[in-house]
């Protein structure tokens, strides 16, 4: 008698275990425990603030806690490497700023490539503006370009680091304008923007919200349309240089995450990006949510990765 019961229990356990192994079939239950959002930059930085804001939205739309985990180092590559290694079960997701995806793999041997991830959505984008030092004589791109043409290499521009998005966008602009301006890289926007404010460099490629908050004068915004936060600053295209540039990023997950889980995350992200609360938090941060669906996000990552790969080859690797 006892043995039959034991046997039955054992049998049930085996069936249960077998069912548990078929976990993906139960993906409709996702998520049933907290989700970790890896952020490849330290707490308090721009990426981290974006991540914490979206994590709060996802916590509501997924109905489980989404916990931010900062894994910084190596210009974000350490965090993305950890994400690429993580189990593709939807319980580890990543908030990736573009540079880590589209620039770093061209600059160092990263243990991940674009194909190591599935793309969920883009949810932030902040246009760049070309700011000038306080007593600068330049008020538009024409003046700047004509001066730089007659004085090649004399002007300097700052960026948050070699191979960063602002660095490459500026090089793209210089290539288009056919002028030479010396690049002075800094260790992030903090020291860089201060150097511009102190007049130690002539120009700085900054996020438009940084330019607005610090009351910097700008000669152009690299956006399709002028920005309310920078009144009177014309777009680059309007001044004859058809170029846009921004700091952007979104949610990614390790490659091989099941369709069901991805669908839940995609829907959650779309909802979050459309939420009023997120818009409010982003507004305080001086930016706004800009949503792209998985296919468009991936296409953008691929196309910019190609452009930037070429620029990195030209600008950084051929330098003596």
């Amino acid at each position: 008698m006892l043995t039959t019961i034991t046997r039955r229990i054992r049998g049930l356990a085996v069936i249960g275990a077998a069912l548990a192994c078929l976990n993906p079939a139960w993906a409709a239950d996702y998520p049933e425990r907290p989700v970790t959002a890896l952020v490849p930059f330290p707490a308090g930085g721009s990426t981290d603030l974006m991540a914490r804001a979206i994590a709060q939205e996802l916590t509501d739309s997924l109905n489980t806690n989404v916990v931010v985990d900062n894994r910084s180092g190596g210009a974000g590559t350490v965090g993305l490497a950890a994400l690429a290694r993580a189990r593709a079960d939807g319980y580890t997701i990543g908030v990736a700023p573009a540079a880590t995806l589209v620039n770093q793999p061209h600059m160092r041997r990263t243990p991940y490539e674009l194909d190591s991830f599935d793309y969920i959505c883009q949810f932030f984008e902040s246009p760049l503006a070309l700011a000038v030092k306080p007593d600068s004589p330049f008020t538009d791109l024409q003046q700047l370009v004509s001066y730089a043409k007659s004085h090649p290499g004399e002007l300097t521009y700052g960026s948050p680091g070699p191979g960063s998005l602002p660095n490459l966008s500026m090089e793209q602009f210089l290539e288009k304008a056919g002028v030479e301006i010396t690049h002075v890289p800094f260790a992030g926007d903090g020291p860089g923007v201060t150097a511009l404010m102190g007049g130690h460099v002539d120009l700085y490629m900054a996020m438009s919200n940084v330019a607005a908050d610090r009351e910097l004068n700008s000669v152009a915004v690299f956006n399709d349309e002028p920005l309310d936060s920078l009144p009177g600053v014309r777009t680059a295209a309007d001044q004859g240089y058809d170029l846009t540039a921004s700091w952007w990023g979104g949610l990614i997950v390790p490659k091989g995450t099941s369709d069901e889980v991805r669908a839940v995350l995609e829907q959650g992200c779309e909802e979050a990006a459309g939420s009023e609360r997120l818009a409010k938090v982003f507004e305080r941060l001086g930016t706004r949510p800009v949503y792209l669906n998985p296919a468009d996000f991936r296409a953008k990552v691929e196309s910019i990765s190609e452009t930037n790969g070429r620029l990195i080859e030209k600008v950084l690797k051929n330098r003596s």
Binding site: P42, A43, G44, G45, D48, L49, R52, Q56, D69, N70, R71, S72, G73, G74, A75, T77, V78, A81, A82, M107, R108, R109, T110, P111, G153, T156, G161, P162, G163, T182, H183, V184, P185, F186, A187, D189, G190, P191, V193, T194, A195, M197, G198, G199, H200, V201, D213, R214, E215, V281, R284, L285, I312, L316, R319
Partner: protein, 498 residues
């Protein structure tokens, strides 16, 4: 006046006061644990600010910031391991004092100096913040390079026994920091195609391995011989007379710390070293530096706590955080709906005043917190040595891993520990290596930025009066032994004539 009144009423709110006291105490404990630092402490508190109100959030963060910077000195003095990188220079004289049996007095000095530095800096900040921010803007790459070069002279100070070995250790430190991405071209250096090396060697794992783990190895090796001296201590405040004698040192170190705090990107670790170098140059007791001289301890601790207030200057008045810690604070403020920047001082005066007052309160809490808790910490040292050492190993490993969750950091700790042990065994001092390592990125990047800006010419560096002044001080400091020898010879020959 209205602004002051509303700032005071914000200050008197029970949740704000509770937050600052709790923040300071937690900060001290986290700061004292090797490997866990200010950044981790503040990051841990960040989620709490989502629920707390504006006043309480700011109070909590400021308390943690001040407490953790001070807390690092406890383990620096008691177990020869800076609890946070900011206290690296505190080890130099703090631990020798403790070994001499004056741990209590060393703790007393560290606490007094920290509180004094923090409070003085807060007062200066309240009076002259916007002005200081303007002066800070005068510092560009060229000036940073000159400042970094001056700070390097403290290598000479700490290698009193053997200058050649000290310089070698310093160079080694400068070199280790070069691993990783080139700050100007983006090339990878000395990464040997190992991905983890391309991110460079982290400051915390390196420091913790070099000091804490090598100390554990050292004690383990020493055990077969005589045991380490038992450090007995009760917290002892320096007497008023002593305080008066060293007042000028306190004052000067606090001013240096405040001023360096206002420069974005230099940070408290470098500040305490610069202050130490200056103290060594000018102190009456300069010959005793490195052997447990309170002046050295004061120089380091007053400066690193003064930085906490100083660092708020660019953060609040320019909206530019000086280091990762103030970056988190800035982020927290932004999430509270406050936009730091030039307009903050006009638009939100009561908040600015509140922050100043809170810093003041935090420093007072810190003094009493230190007074209450340092006997507790020194009691830990009465644990049997094997137990204590084992606990240090566990703490160091857990603390370092908790920062980035990166196993590679643990490897760095281990290798730095073994390396540190071998260096000590062969008579190389460790401090110069840390000094080189901490200052290397600043010196390298600012030198190369300066060269880019001056189109490759070093002569352009002398066009800056600030940089030229710093170069001159550095040169004088290096030539001082020669000059004073010369003077003595002239003097003695003239007396002979008489």
């Amino acid at each position: 006046m209205d602004a002051l009144l509303s700032a005071l009423s914000m200050l008197a709110a029970p949740d704000a006061l509770l937050a600052v006291v709790a923040g300071t105490l937690v900060g001290i404990i986290i700061g004292a644990l090797p490997g866990l630092g200010s950044l981790l402490a503040i990051t841990m508190a960040l989620p709490l600010t989502f629920v707390l109100g504006q006043g309480a959030s700011v109070a909590l963060l400021l308390g943690i910031y001040c407490g953790s910077v001070y807390g690092g000195s406890l383990s620096a003095i008691l177990i020869n391991t800076p609890g946070t990188p900011q206290s690296a220079a505190t080890v130099l004289d703090g631990y020798p004092m403790a070994r001499r049996g004056e741990a209590g007095l060393a703790l007393g000095w560290a606490t007094t100096a920290s509180a004094f530095g923090g409070i003085l800096a807060t007062v200066i900040l309240a009076v002259a913040s916007p002005l200081l921010a303007r002066i800070g803007l005068k510092f560009g790459p060229v000036e940073y390079f000159a400042l970094g070069l001056f700070a390097l002279t403290c290598i000479i100070t700490v290698s009193r026994d053997n200058l050649v070995k000290g310089l070698m250790a310093g160079l080694l430190g400068l070199f280790v920091a070069v691993v990783g991405q080139d700050p100007v071209t983006g090339y990878l250096r000395y990464d040997f195609n190992v991905f983890d090396l391309s991110a460079g060697i982290g400051l915390v794992p390196f420091l913790v391995g070099l000091f804490a783990l090598s100390e554990v190895f050292w004690r383990a090796a020493e055990r077969s011989g005589g045991g380490a001296p038992v450090i007995r201590s009760a917290f002892r405040c320096p007497s008023l007379g002593e305080l008066r004698r060293r007042f000028s040192m306190l004052l000067k170190s606090s001013l240096i710390g405040t001023w360096i705090g206002t420069l974005p990107g230099v940070g408290a670790s470098s500040a305490s070293m610069i202050s130490y170098a200056e103290a060594k140059r000018s102190s009456r007791n300069r010959d005793k530096f490195g052997t447990g001289e309170p002046d050295g301890l004061i120089a380091s601790e007053a400066a690193n706590n003064a930085v906490t207030s100083g660092a708020m200057v660019p953060t609040l008045s320019l909206g530019v955080p000086g280091d990762p810690i103030t970056a988190v604070m800035l982020g927290a403020l932004v999430l509270q709906g406050v936009t730091p920047g030039p307009r903050l001082f006009l638009d939100n005066q009561e908040l600015v005043l509140f922050i100043f007052l809170m810093l003041f309160v935090a420093n007072i809490c810190m003094f009493f917190g230190g007074w209450l808790m340092s006997p507790l910490f020194s009691r830990i040292l009465r644990l049997p040595e094997p137990l204590l050492m084992a606990a240090v190993v566990v703490l160091v490993a857990a603390g370092t891993y908790s920062i980035n969750g990166n196993p590679f950091d643990l490897l760095v700790v281990l290798l730095a520990g073994i390396g540190g042990f071998l260096l000590r065994y062969n008579g190389f001092p460790l401090a110069p290596m840390v000094i080189g390592f901490v200052l290397s990125p600043m010196i390298e990047q600012s030198l190369r930025q300066g060269l880019l800006m001056n189109r490759g010419s070093f002569l352009g560096f002398f066009a800056s009066p600030i940089a030229s002044g710093l170069f001159l001080i550095t040169a004088l400091f290096l030539l001082w032994p020669l000059l004073s020898g010369l003077r003595r010879r002239l003097f003695s020959s003239s007396t002979v004539k008489e």
